[in-house]
Amino acid sequence: MRLGTNFVGTVRLGVKSLMLHKLRSALTMLGIIFGVCSVIAMLAIGEGASYEAQEAIKKLGSNNIILRSIKPAEEANQSGSARGFELEYGLTYDDAVRILKTVPGVTRVLPMRIIRENVRFDQNEFPCQVIGTLPFYTEIVGVDVVRGRFLTTTDETYQNNICVLTASLASKLFPFQDPLKMSIKVAGVYYQVVGIVRERNMVEQRSQTGGSENEALDNNIYIPISTSKSRFGESIMKRTAGSFSAERVELHQITVQMQDTDAVETADPQIMTLLKRFHESIDYETIVPLELLRQAEQTKRIFNIVLGSIAAISLLVGGIGIMNIMLATVTERTREIGVRRALGAKKKDIITQFLVETVVLSVGGGLIGVVIGVVTPYIVSTLADMKTIVTVSSVLLAFGISGAIGIMFGIYPARSAANLDPIEALRHE
């Protein structure tokens, strides 16, 4: 039974011996099946979860620093302005200019005004975000022009009443017509549709709106920022229950584009210092996608370690189960071992025989586990609406570990079988 000359025969013999106790072998395999399955499934779920976060962050642009206006804390405005008065806060055009001029490594600064309004065409009316911005918005935020064109400097200079719609909004507003050249009405003003874009990333606006109407998230209308300023004014009226409140916000967001990722790290504290000097209260926040990305990667690593250890423990338990059964098998088959030794089997032949049996158990369990482990994430993602990614490396890892466990936990029972005294073994009842 030297390896090679008759390896297939040895494996076949191992399977045959295992088939003598089908239930026992199947139960033993279960440990490995669950172990391998949980390794693959857990890593797939972890991978999927972090993938979504990372993709979202990546699209914010790893070269960018995002500044947002936030309403200052409640106690701060209570003292200054009574209810119904105009509340002034947030980023200003001056901030944008100062950042561009003083912070080294800044290539461009993109100001944005984001106003929630209803948009109307014919009988159709939807809540949406009117985003006043500059033509290079497309280059900094991930946006593809699907039809027509985006905003131009001419639009900006002449404060043209033109707009660009997101594809989803366009299809809702114009279910039957071609939206290009049509006019839509926002807050009493008509804007001509000149283009349709598809945003690659919605996360950016998500926290800004903070509204309950989620469908408004991808209902964006882009207009020149000069138009936004002249049509909506600097003050934005908000109607709350029983009273009016006005907010004066110059810019809702400034996206600072840096020349490279190294510049991001040095520029971040500089921008913070700069803003602090010109703002009385903290009425802005910064988001550094690069940092978020690193945090996400760190989180993923921790996640993988935790999930990996849980799965590894279950594999270990499976391995111990195998060892337990193999030890029982050796005792049960002592007589057979004696006979084989009498018929010319060397110690290493006996070791090979029992080791092959253990490996057949663990690798067989591993194979079944791989199948279930690949199917489980698929079921999870359809049922729980979670993204899962089964990586080839996790499959190889799980399968490799199952094989290694077979050898690790098989070696002791196999050796104890081989070390039996043939005379004693033959006499064993």
Binding site: N6, G9, V339, L343, G344, K348, I423, L426
Partner: protein, 240 residues
């Protein structure tokens, strides 16, 4: 007829045991001498029966003859090699190649078919059983089981199982067939069949060493060696 090794050997004996002792040291005061200075020479084609009450050293003798155990002292020449001091792996090889075992309880491997059981000793000699298919089928036919090749041991009667064991013992064409109470578990009719088969093999020139405590069984052998207290007590020559 009482005699020792009186025949003048025409050629070197296939089995030659010279001054073998086997001592078990259980504790300092308790030392068991299982074999004391045993001498035995068996020529090719001989049929030897070993008899003796339990505790006579018969089993120890069998284990040493079968290369399952090594003597404490002395030499054991089997087919031209002193096997008494061989390492474990070499002994395995000697068992596989030179000795064919037949056990009282048949000792077939339960999960294997008749044909596969016959092939087991071949496998341990590094042979591919497929190369020896005809040989193995021939042996199965020789013992009258040519039509049961795919049967499992559990599907066979005791006599049939013992015949499979005989076929298995022959597969590597050994120097000696070592039969340990081959009829002990069989009724007299099937026992007789099995013994007839051994007679036939002996007639074809196989050396047979048989351990038994049944006089009728022993009477079939040319020489009957009676053991007592770890020594060969007497030897009876039944026929030349």
């Amino acid at each position: 007829m009482v005699a020792s090794n009186l025949e003048t050997p025409t050629k070197a004996p296939v089995i030659h045991i010279k001054g073998i002792r086997k001592t078990y040291v259980l504790s300092e005061e308790n030392i068991v001498h299982a074999l004391r200075d045993v001498e035995l020479a068996v020529h090719e084609g001989a049929y030897v029966a070993i008899m003796g009450p339990s505790g006579s050293g018969k089993s120890t003798m069998l284990n040493i003859l079968g290369c399952l155990d090594r003597p404490s002292d002395g030499e054991y020449w089997l087919g031209g090699d002193d096997v008494s001091k061989m390492p474990d792996d070499r002994l395995s090889e000697v068992r596989g190649k030179r000795i064919g075992f037949i056990f009282q309880s048949y000792n077939l491997i339960a999960q294997l078919s008749v044909l596969e059981n016959i092939q087991v000793p071949l496998i341990y000699q590094g042979e591919d059983p497929r190369d020896h298919h005809d040989h193995c089928v021939g042996l199965a036919k020789l013992v009258g089981l040519g039509d049961r090749l795919d049967h499992r041991p559990a599907q066979l009667s005791g006599g049939q199982q013992q015949r499979v064991a005989i076929a298995r013992s022959l597969v590597n064409d050994p120097f000696m067939i070592l039969a340990d109470e081959p009829t002990g578990n069989l009724d007299s009719k099937t026992g007789t069949e099995v013994l007839d088969m051994l007679d036939k093999l002996n007639g074809e020139g196989k050396t047979i060493v048989l351990v038994t405590h049944d006089d009728a069984t022993a009477s079939r052998a040319q020489r009957v060696i009676h053991m007592l207290d770890g020594r060969i007590d007497r030897e009876v020559i039944n026929r030349p």
